[in-house]
Symmetry: C2
DNA sequence: CGAAATTACGACTGGCGTAAGTATC
DNA sequence: GATACTTACGCCAGTCGTAATTTCG
């Protein structure tokens, strides 16, 4: 038994169904374009899913939907690496251009809504971070020329103090304390693995992974920062009572040189050293059986976090990072 | 009581909710852009809804969704005609460019899928139809330069015979017989009102609408086609036993001249005469209290209807017509 | 009052998740 | 067997429709 209202509903549904097919009001949505972009940039369904905070299954569904609609495959199966078909490539080109235009329009709208300019003073406590921060800031500056963009220089023991004292609008930190204090908000940027670095010729290079004890009689080469800020020490070594000698260097290459010449071993974000591992003088090793992982957060005032340019800055940092650094892990919000 | 599976589900939903807000994976979809385009082109929510085969309510919902998302109004309320806000205009520009690019990509994909060219021989039985057919064919030719596009000239008593005899691939007709015969398919183009045309000075010009009897002692001025093809006669006059004298002219202007000089009265598609009504010598009047309405269909072979270029041709015709002719009525498919 | 828009409410369904299956290296 | 993708199945959130209400000319 179907009510009259329901009858109308069914008629309408049927009609809509027909109209979508017969009248060709394309079923393609921006969702699909986002997916395709992520798919190409991350190389397979699972990683694309991670980036979009969806499951592999959802991506598969979306791909299938496009393929059914156009009647062609979007990417070739059973190939490594992933290869798009001609159709897939065309759609990917579309995604690139369209999504860029959408982003631009949304920035324009944000300007219309927020009216006037603002400023963004960025502080980082982490040496290697400049690798992604600089290109991200460059892109941001292009998009928001009217925002005064600054880098707070110098090293600071307590970077959050910079926020409190209104000497910075955004600071990048690696430790995640909870929200709340002074209306401060944490924005997850990305997660990454911290790997041990040893010379190819070092006896430890043969191991499957490094244990805290392996560090006992070694010299640990790091950036010149207090040991509380080094996750290897704070999380991996200290809890097991291991306190190796330390030696510091300012630059990543310098640290790697020291490791290569067997003056010590190190531990760094995997993305910071990926390029150097290829050359073969040093080797990366997992820290502990399960690995040691670090995370990066941007901290801002709650109010500042609401502006569109701040959100765009965060998005830009994530996009640049995921697109240029290998092995990053998306973090869930909050 | 919530199952474990459900718990996961809830967690995921929450997560998705958060991520959509915090990670700014824009909620804008092509749906909204289609809606905005239709909204601007048709001038108000109701007509936009008609075009998209949705209800006024759905359009209102969509607008509200955008407005909530960006925190600005998209169009100013309580103004006649409809006026977009700055945000609305920016989004409309976005819609224009993006949708054009999507359409182009879809044509490219169709070419990839279908591989090779085809041809499209168009036949029309209706004089006035050239008004929209020509611009539509021009646009189509730009998009599908490799398709051989032809116009089948001459008048034909039974236009469907052209299809059967393979002398045309698409014919435009005003009568809608059911599918089936010879695997032929009817594609609705648009509906329109047929209005009576009388001189401003004619006594009938005072009436609210014309009745069949009003035509009894008048001369009916029409295009030179058999009377079965004239809806005024077939549907409006003949059933009431009214058979006025007839006089014919080839061109719309010529017919209107005759009417203006009170040599007779006429009946034509409202869109064909809209421009001339403004000038004031002739007047349009509804035919019957409820009005007389005509419809136009394109007829093709079922097979040919499946090709993308054919579908695109139909879409182009509809788009051109709705964008240039006043007072058209969307028809439901099938 | 009619035409246009908003809104409360509810129906459906399509998009996505879980989990199990298939396939490839 | 690990990794990559597909698929069956089910849930619900979001989208749309109906209808009542408001608003304006």
């Amino acid at each position: 038994m179907v009510s009259s209202a329901n009858l109308h509903y069914y008629a309408n549904s049927l009609f809509k169904y027909l109209s979508l097919n017969l009248f060709m009001i394309s079923m393609l949505e921006l969702r699909h374009l986002h997916m395709l972009k992520a798919l190409v940039e991350s190389g397979n369904l699972s990683r694309a899913a991670q980036r979009l905070h969806l499951t592999q299954s959802a991506i598969s569904h979306q791909v299938k939907q496009i393929e059914d609609h156009y009647g062609v495959l979007v990417f070739e199966r059973k190939t490594q690496p992933l290869r798009l078909t001609a159709t897939g490539q065309r759609l990917h080109v579309l995604a690139e251009t369209v999504l860029a235009q959408v982003a631009e329009a949304e920035r324009d709208i944000a300007r219309i809504v927020e009216g006037q300019a603002g400023r963004l003073r960025v502080a980082v406590e982490c040496h290697t971070c400049f690798e992604w921060l600089m290109p991200a800031m460059d892109i941001f500056r292009e998009h928001w020329s009217e925002i005064e963009l600054d880098l707070v220089s110098g090293f600071h023991a307590d970077p959050l103090a910079l926020l409190r004292e209104d000497r910075a609008d955004l600071v990048v930190v690696s430790e995640h304390r909870k929200h709340g204090a002074n209306g401060v908000v944490y924005h997850p940027l990305f997660g990454f693995e911290i790997i041990g670095i040893v010379s190819r010729l070092h006896r430890l290079a043969q191991k499957e992974y490094l244990t805290p004890q392996d560090f006992t009689d070694e010299t640990l080469v790091t950036y010149p920062v207090p040991e509380e800020m080094l996750d290897v020490i704070r999380i991996f070594l200290k809890p097991h009572g291991v306190e190796p000698k330390r030696r510091t260097a300012e630059l990543t290459v310098a640290i790697l040189q020291l490791v290569a010449s067997r003056r010590g071993i190190s531990a760094m974000p995997s993305w910071a050293v990926q390029g150097y591992l290829r050359t073969g003088y040093v080797q990366g090793l997992r820290l502990g059986k399960e690995g040691l992982f670090g995370e990066l957060y941007a901290v801002t005032h709650g109010e500042a976090a609401k502006t569109a340019y701040m959100q765009d800055f965060l998005e830009t940092v994530r996009a640049v990072s995921f697109n240029t650094l290998p092995g990053l892990i998306p973090l869930s919000p909050a």
